[in-house]
């Protein structure tokens, strides 16, 4: 009896320790990070609209990418702009125009609605064209979702913070350090030179190779307007063929984005807005050369993505908590941007997952919904589950409390469809905005793979 109990006792203790270690493995397994250097950086939201064609304001994004360490030497980032623009279908009046929804893709021509000429083409400048009816657009064509990537390489020197406007990029020659060599001795010590050139520009001195941005090129985003994502993977600049850095200094990249906007086209007398967030980082763990061309975000080669993202939000359409005493209370709206951790850039197969939302209000009441995330997801919270924001589970009028907690879980089966990363943007009165990083739970998603062309 005693032995039996002892066995049970030991078994329970073992079970406890096992559970403990499992829990520990879960709790200490580092996930993505927004405040530490990493090997993979993801900027979930890059917005450019320098003519306010789609966005309500003239908008551009400054992307900052830095090498976190003085002694790490030259680092290379292999980056992918993911263009998530949608475009009007071929039947639209302006086929191929960038759009956010079908209302921005009217069909060509106009027809009479109502009246004796109903259904007939009409001239909107002729007030008699539609007796007792109206001459309007016959409807909308489709706004077709798109996905394409453009990749480029950036060399970041050992102390260098690098920044560029997404609308312009940085052409060769526009980088801060363009010369690949420096003169040692001679008549112009310290001067720039090219160590590969057959012409010695250092006089009696010698041209010594030094770290530089030479060889880098950052294109402007593929379209203006543009909405999409930027992903950068740290590469080993000495590797041939190019390959992800799996050395001891593989986690050296830090990044952030500033989205700046003006309410009119030349920032003249209107409003200015700036929103800033840190890029989400995924750190490298241990070298694994068994799958060249792929980086595995699995908790082994690289850290895994979190299984749960946590968003604290003021419910949509809630009164601004700082404006309660005013006559006209502006309301708060939150936009959520989510991107999958995995992407197949080789086969141009974007990551996709299902985002499951658990929404808690201040009374512990829980509601849920889910939505497909196909390569890039951006939506006002209260339009995620319905087209009527006042009836949404993210709406103040439904929840009845000012703030909520939303737990977002990525679910998928494909290698590019488990984990999610994201950023939130809250706006007050539809104008003043703030971007902020989502936090995360302790669990990890399944294996996410980024396949590199």
């Amino acid at each position: 009896m005693v032995n039996a109990r002892r066995i049970v006792s030991v078994a329970k203790a073992g079970l406890t320790l096992g559970v403990c270690l499992l829990g520990l493995a879960s709790s200490t397994r580092a996930l993505s990070t927004s405040d530490k250097p990493a090997a993979i950086l993801v900027w979930p939201k890059i917005v450019v609209d320098t003519n306010a064609l789609i966005e309500p304001r003239t908008t551009d994004t400054i992307i900052q990418l830095g090498n976190a360490l003085h002694n790490a030497g030259l680092k290379q980032a292999h980056c992918f702009y993911v263009n998530a623009n949608s475009h009007c279908s071929e039947t639209a009046a302006e086929p191929g125009k960038v759009c956010r929804d079908a209302s921005q893709c009217p069909l060509p021509g106009t027809v009479c609605v109502g009246g004796s000429n109903a259904g007939q083409p009409c001239d909107p400048t002729n007030i008699d064209a539609c007796p007792n009816g109206a001459c309007v657009s016959p409807g909308n064509a489709n706004c077709v979702a798109g996905w394409s990537e453009v990749d480029f390489e950036v060399l970041v020197t050992h102390d260098q913070p690098l920044a560029w406007k997404a609308s312009a990029g940085l052409k060769r020659g526009e980088f801060p350090i363009n010369a690949s060599g420096v003169c040692v001795g001679g008549s112009a010590p310290g001067g720039a030179c090219d160590p590969r050139s057959s012409i010695n520009t250092c006089g009696t001195g010698a041209c010594q190779a030094s770290d530089s941005n030479a060889g880098s090129g950052i294109p402007p985003v593929a379209e203006d307007p543009f909405v999409g994502t930027l992903k950068c993977i740290q590469y080993d600049p000495k590797s041939n063929p190019p390959a992800p850095d799996q050395g001891s200094t593989a986690n050296e990249l830090i990044g952030s984005a500033s989205i700046e906007a003006c309410s009119d086209t030349i920032c003249d007398g209107g409003t200015v807005d700036v929103e800033r967030y840190n890029a989400s980082g995924v750190q490298f763990n241990v070298a694994d050369n068994s799958h060249p061309g792929e980086v595995h975000l699995d908790g082994s080669q690289y850290q895994a993505c979190p299984s749960t993202l946590i968003l604290d939000n003021i419910f949509d359409n809630a009164p601004d908590p700082l404006s309660a005493a005013t006559d006209t209370v502006p309301t708060v709206i939150t936009d959520l941007t989510l991107v999958p951790c995995g992407d197949d850039f080789l086969r141009q197969d974007p990551g996709n997952a299902t985002a499951q939302f658990l929404v808690f209000n201040e009374f512990e009441q829980r509601l849920s919904t889910s939505r497909k995330v196909d390569c890039f997801f951006e939506r006002q919270l209260s339009l995620i589950d319905t087209s009527n924001s006042l009836r949404s589970i993210f709406s103040f009028s439904v929840q009845g409390t000012l703030v909520g907690q939303t737990r977002i879980r990525g679910v998928g089966t494909a290698a590019t469809g488990h984990g999610l990363l994201g950023v939130a943007r809250a706006s007050i009165g539809g104008v003043a905005g703030v971007a902020y990083n989502l936090q995360q739970g302790t669990g990890k998603s399944g294996i996410d793979i980024i396949t590199i062309p």
């Binding site: 403990c20 250097p37 002694n71 312009a168 350090i177 003249d268 200015v272 703030v434």
Partner: protein
Amino acid sequence: MRTTLRMHAGWLGLALSACTLIGGAALAATTTDRPGSILIFPKVVTTGTRDTVIQVTNTGNMPGDVRCFYLDGQTCLETDFDLSLTRQQPTVWDAQQGRRVNPTDPQAGLDPGLVPPLPANYAGALVCVEVDTSDKPSVRNQLKGEATIVDKSQGFSSNSVGKYNAVAVQGISSNGDDTLKLDGTEYSACPASLVVDFNGRGQDRVIQGIGNGGRCVGGTNAGGGCNSSAQCPPAGTCSPASGTSSVFTRVTVVPCNLDFSNVTKANVTLNLLRSDETEVTLSGAVPQFGCWASFVVEDAFGGTQLATAYGSAGLRSVTGGPVVGVAESFVADSLANTASAAVDLHTRGVCSLNAGNAYCNRDQDCPAGSGTCVFTQAAVIQLPAH
């Protein structure tokens, strides 16, 4: 039977102890990505036209009590209050208004407790600590928080707003006393150094690019924003000298050594090392401060302007223990329409024996003789007896 049960308890205790030790060894520095047992909001202001909205959320499935302390950045005095959060409960309050316990007031939601209002022109920090039902510190790592700083001076349609995540200190194994050791065994330790990416003080490139690099002098658009004289018809000129766009970055830090019981100041001195886009580095410092500091990055370098548009600066404390912080960027067009954005700071290590500014991510990064790479630095938060 009694012996067996004792053995049973012993095994469980051993197992749990092992769990705690391993956990202690494995957990690292503070985080802005995950919930924790202590939240530090480095910047809470009600100065001038600015105000701060605080959000605190219990992310766990157990109810939780919280002790919070406002820290006045000028006097280092504290004002404390208690919160009770039900499971998964988010809550919010306006720092200048506080929040009363009044189910009939206009603010919808479940009042978490009496939150005192802050006076006008307050600038400081907020620290919240998980406690059990007897107000002893406990470790559940359920708390997360955000602060939204709003400038209402330009009307509600053009508020300047910034939002950041609170710095979370994860609990490991609390002994329940009021001395919270942020040392990697009781709570995770504070970061050894911080990194801020910043815009050099000067004109803002985006606004310049959009078209408001200067102001019109003369013409029908006199005083208006412009980027070329063609925007100042018929005969005006666009003069950058008469008003330009601007951008600068302000960093706010608070020490991890906080003595709310005896109101003892940490007296922190910061060393900084910045680098511009051409790798030109410059050292700077923030003179000793008691318990809170807020400064424009260039001011820590004697006002020396950055030679390029963007820079990166490392911050490390040389006296008074580690700090945590947040950065705020301020952008204005040439007509002084202003916006702000807040962002959490990155963290990294420093070489243990280097008195200067040797930053690192691993031991190999430290030059010979400069020791090993240390990512965290211990600190103590002393709570007053409840």
